[in-house]
Symmetry: C2
Subunit: 190 residues, 2 copies
DNA sequence: ACCGCAAGTCAACGATGGTTTACATCACAT
DNA sequence: ATGTGATGTAAACCATCGTTGACTTGCGGT
């Protein structure tokens, strides 16, 4: 049970690679991240990336799928999506643990990865719309939810790539009021 | 006067390179853009990038400075910044003419470029705060302006890198109401 | 007409990217 | 204990990247 640490554990190193890749891709984007960076941060040989994920793009797709499932699992009730976003945004994201939502803004050229990314964004926006009391599939209302999602992601991105004060070091208490206003303004159903 | 087209015109090719670079950098980001891509799109030899801009980073800095001056010139009265953002966002940005605001989200590793980018973002946020009726340098109020700026940039980014409907092909008429609500919610002074 | 310099071309360089191949080593079943 | 397949390592491959230097071509003044 206590998982005797093996010197060679495929699942473990696969996980190490995935975690390192998610950090790197989220912080620096796809193109600016090298497979050697990821391997070094994971403390693992470079060639294993191709063994376990077939390619750099394959690894990136795996990262996206990870964010998708985490986001899906995190939502039990459909109307707590705004809180999740607020948590995500105002959570303390150090340089070692960047906001994983950033992966949804990171674009590789790969078609399959783009499809995954778009899929996650769409379902997330749909849940937002539902949480906002949207009459089903009303275009104007879905649009508002997508605008809200864009705002949240832009906030995450700007907070991670710049040091603009007071935004850069604003904690949850400081961030919550404007976020609340933003939600209320774009999801009038709540 | 009528600018007889010269076969060799340093200023003209410099401008061609700058325009091509701004399109490429805005659409694909810094790392994913190749100097040969830029040169080809400009119909110009690759080596001229280094001649006129010293390096790829130098070219990127020049692009940022261009956005800075354009943004500065566009603002005559200080309280029309929201309208400018709305125009920028809802303007038709084809694949050939992406939104130049995206450059403010594109990060190279270069220190000087990052300083320029941060400077533009800060002054832009300050103008937003002033337009929002901010008591000078009130942190909470400046923060709201920066949140608004983040939202606008995130919107521009998501609209350009994904095909999420109805956001992707929303025109000015569709985009204006949620944008207006966003402004009103974050800049209560207006 | 011709000369000098600016403008543009061409080809290569060294570095680094993702990927692959051949090899070494460990874990586990028999 | 031993052989076998899974796991990890080392090194190289090849394409492409940004950059540079030597060269050619055209423009403008004299």
């Amino acid at each position: 049970m206590t998982a005797v640490p093996r010197r060679r554990d495929a699942a473990a190193t696969r996980r190490l690679l995935l975690e390192a890749a998610r950090r790197r891709f989220a912080r620096n984007g796809y193109a600016a991240t090298t497979v050697r960076d990821i391997a070094d941060e994971a403390g693992v040989n470079v060639a294993l990336i191709n063994r376990y994920f077939a390619s750099k793009e394959g690894l990136f797709e795996a990262c996206l799928r990870g964010v998708g499932t985490e986001l899906g699992d995190a939502v039990e009730g459909v109307d707590q999506v705004p809180r999740i976003i607020a948590r995500q945004l105002s959570g303390q994201h150090t340089r070692e643990h960047p906001n994983q939502l950033l992966l949804l803004l990171r674009s590789s050229g790969d078609t399959r990865a783009e499809e995954i990314r778009l899929g996650i964004l769409r379902t997330f926006a749909e849940r937002l719309a539902a949480a906002g009391g949207c009459p089903d599939a009303d275009d104007a209302c879905v649009l508002r939810a997508q605008v809200l999602l864009s705002a949240a992601l832009g906030l995450a991105l700007l907070r991670s790539t710049t040091t603009m004060e007071p935004l850069g070091s604003a904690d949850e208490n400081a961030l919550l009021p404007p976020l609340q206003d933003l939600f209320d303004a774009l999801l009038p159903g709540r």
